[in-house]
Symmetry: C2
Subunit: 454 residues, 2 copies
């Protein structure tokens, strides 16, 4: 960035809100993916919507890239400022703007993380159930249309949004919805902002749906002989109409990994993890119906997590899965995030597991099978081009196969730089329309340039 | 339309698929609203996507308006071809393209109605729950983002869409989604097509989510002293987390109306109607919890519909509500469709009821209170300008107040020509962006011109 421009930013934005420190540039050069790091010219810490209007107006005039940065937990390089410019960090925008407990609704700033949000609302008997594992920011979760283990019951981030305050590239501030639970007015802008990865506007406030904390929660798990059998059993649960809160597949390899990482003693077989939530009677009924069904499908090791500690352990282990691989010394990780129609899930999971075997790399298959969404995690030596190529090959094959089966290359992680190459295959002619929407919202291409579309 | 153009259409589209008969022009000049009728130049009955590509290419070249027409049950004049041109009717596009029972999913053509769809899938133990009362077409329901009594559990049409095949104004065919249950790929086009009322593209196929028919369904009702008490009680049900299938408010006036229209004997007081669905145990548990809660809130006349006939009667009566007013001789009807945060519902309902009293017109308040969505129905003599003005005044006041309370002028009926005047108040600066989206999709303004935005 040219000096005169940087000085203009300094003057207008105030130097307390700008950082060029080595550690901040480093932190904002990356996310949790292994996509190449790029440092921004500087990091900006806005304190409210007016600050964001200011920065975008100058950036738009001079065509300076602006890349929003949430908690940096993205897995596809979404927050990496690959064309440099400004990284915009929301650490100073974490306020709860308004809380409406009777409406099961809250308005927050984008920098608040899901755990911070829950810490506040749990005291009032409410919770925000979307759980992408990492303690991501609400802004980042909306921008990625994140979801996770509870999507089978509550849907993705897109389904939680009532209204967003958004600053457009030219500095215009709009609201994308209202506080009504449903509406047929105007065009649906909530939906298009969710998953737009900072390329269409900067989210400065979000009004979200909340849910009552269920009176009772019960976890259980069981094992099957093959990942394919797990997927078939999961399909049966969905068809019978039981509203599980979570239903996760973890393959034997991953159970081994997490047992050794976290000191657990789960049976090292292909497993389904369940969670049920509701009144005690409903939970009991649901757990019994599913237990019976799983046994019909030939499961072993059906076990309820009877104590709160058992339940906490089970989901702690599930959440540690990614880290249990990632901590392996000297290895980088990559992974697929395919989502397919449920009837194709068994085929896909077997396909993924076979690719992993063939690659000879350490890796596992796990995921949110209730949505037909599953991940692979593949470990490779980043200095070994052959291992790296093999790892990328498995990702590639899985994404392509998912699309061929009518599914999506990314169920929840988003496109970023990693999934750009599949957009045309997945969306066909619609890609041109999407690109023209980008151009309409951001004619100078300043908002997180170089993402989603090639 | 100039003769040479009409002849070009005749030649390219085939005269068997075109009608200019008086009865067809008449039928396509109106919907169920009382907005002024306008006849199209001709009605076109396409038989597949290629036909639609053909007609749009010529229409786009010559800037001829094309207005899709579903079942004509819209309440805001959405399907009225106010700038004449072509009315496009989907009576010959009602096919089930592909049925995926294991995936709880189906792909259909837009002309199929919800009852026709259900007739097919019910045999397989599945159902499509969105129920706007009228036997609307799937295309029309998507285009209006319709919902109805079951939205409290299943959401609106937007929430049912996995993928749409859409023909854009220039004849390009796109798919807006995939068969994956969730996705973070590309921009969300499903959402923006839902509720676009035929102004952004013509829907030629829809892949929708289905649901298992609940093992047991149980209906119940109770009464309160005021509509406000009904609304407060409804709010309590939502907060306690019970997933009712339906929860409807019907005020005393409307109960009187429907009793006399349909020969029912419901207590003529302000009422809540409930429906619970699930396994027998879950249904029993939910009904008991709600019964207890309603009694805490001081309800009277709690009564379960114990036989299937009782249950059918209860919902038949609810569905006949609109007609029980509409059949009144010599009167036209109009009505509001406000949606507000639940905590504002009691205030809004009382406001609506008071306006009706003050107007001196026959009318009622009823609606889908689980979503904060409610309707008024006001009867007026269309030849009496004072009555007409009073009726429109109540609609107006309710829409404006809903927006002021943070809600929406239309929860489900859509904008059409009737709610255009509230768009700026509801969406503010976002209206400009919405208009530019319209221009991007349809630069020549041929798709259902004159709707949504002034
Ligand atoms: C161990 C682990 C497990 C994970 N499991 C899951 C999972 O199960 N499900 C899942 O969905 N994800 C998962 N993720 C991925 C990640 O947590 C999500 O993608 C999350 O949404 C990222 O949020 P963030 O705040 O970290 O955003 P960042 O990574 O900082 O940014 C993500 C994107 O959001 C944009 N953005 C951020 N804030 C704003 C704003 N205010 N306005 C506009 N754009 C903005 C950025 O520009 C960027 O494009 C996992 C990650 C890890 C490390
Ligand atoms: C008694 C009664 C009760 C009602 N109750 C409810 C209710 O509870 N909830 C509710 O939501 N609605 C309700 N409605 C309104 C109505 O049923 C809905 O708005 C429904 O969605 C209209 O569908 P339709 O097929 O009749 O569409 P039409 O009225 O024919 O058209 C509606 C719009 O859809 C567009 N359209 C139709 N097909 C296509 C296509 N293939 N591609 C693109 N655009 C298309 C048209 O251009 C038009 O803009 C009720 C109506 C009546 C008469």
């Amino acid at each position: 960035m040219e000096t005169y421009l940087y000085e203009q930013f300094l003057e207008v934005l105030g130097k307390e809100k700008i950082s060029k420190s080595e550690s901040e540039l480093y932190r904002h050069s990356r996310d949790e993916s292994s996509h190449p790091y790029v440092e921004p010219d500087f990091v900006y810490f806005p304190e409210g919507v007016e600050d964001i209007v200011k920065v975008l107006k100058i950036a738009n005039e001079h065509k300076i890239p602006v890349t929003p940065y949430g908690a940096g937990s993205g897995l596809e390089g979404q927050a990496i400022p690959i064309h440099k410019g400004i990284s915009m960090n929301f650490d100073n925008m974490k306020k709860i703007i308004e809380f409406y407990p009777e409406d099961l609704m809250i308005t927050v700033e984008p920098g608040i993380t899901r755990l911070q949000l829950n810490e506040f609302i749990n005291k009032h008997g409410l919770y925000f159930p979307i759980d992408p594992g990492a303690d991501a920011s609400i802004g980042g979760m909306i921008a990625n249309n994140a979801s996770g283990t509870t999507a089978v019951r509550y849907g993705s981030m897109r389904d939680q949004i009532l209204d967003l305050e958004v600053v457009l590239a030219n500095g215009t501030v709009i609201h994308t919805g209202s506080k009504a639970k449903k509406s047929s007015s105007g065009y649906n802008l909530n939906g298009i902002m969710a998953g737009s990865e900072g390329t269409l506007g900067v989210i400065t406030k979000a009004t979200l749906k909340l849910h009552g904390i269920p009176e009772k929660v019960l976890a259980a798990r069981c094992t099957f002989n093959t990942p394919g059998e797990c997927a078939e059993a999961a399909q049966a649960v969905l068809s019978c109409g039981i509203q599980v809160l979570r239903m996760e597949l973890v393959d034997a390899e991953s159970i081994k990994q997490v047992n050794s990482y976290g000191g657990y003693a789960f049976p090292e077989e292909h497993s389904l993890f369940f969670e049920f939530a509701g009144t005690p009677n409903i939970v009991e009924e649901e757990a019994s119906v599913v237990e019976e069904l799983m046994k019909e499908f030939g499961c072993s090791n059906w076990e309820r997590a009877n104590t709160p500690k058992d339940r906490a352990d089970l989901w702690k282990a599930r959440h540690e899965l990614a880290y249990s691989y990632k901590h392996i010394k000297g290895k980088a990780s990559t992974g697929a995030d395919a989502c397919v129609p449920i009837s194709k899930l068994a085929e896909m999971v077997v396909f993924g597991r076979t690719l992993l075997e063939e690659s000879g790399l350490i890796g596992g298959v796990f995921g949110h099978v209730g949505d037909g969404n599953f991940h692979t995690m593949v470990m490779y030596d980043p200095n070994d081009p052959v291992e790296k190529a093999k790892a990328k090959y498995t990702d590639d094959q899985i994404a392509m196969k998912a699309i061929e089966l009518g599914g999506s290359c990314t169920g929840e992680h988003g496109v970023g730089v990693g999934k750009m190459k599949y957009q045309l295959k997945e969306h066909g002619e619609a890609v041109e329309l999407m690109k023209s929407i980008k151009l309409l919202f951001d004619p100078n291409g300043i908002l997180n340039p170089g993402k989603i579309f090639i």
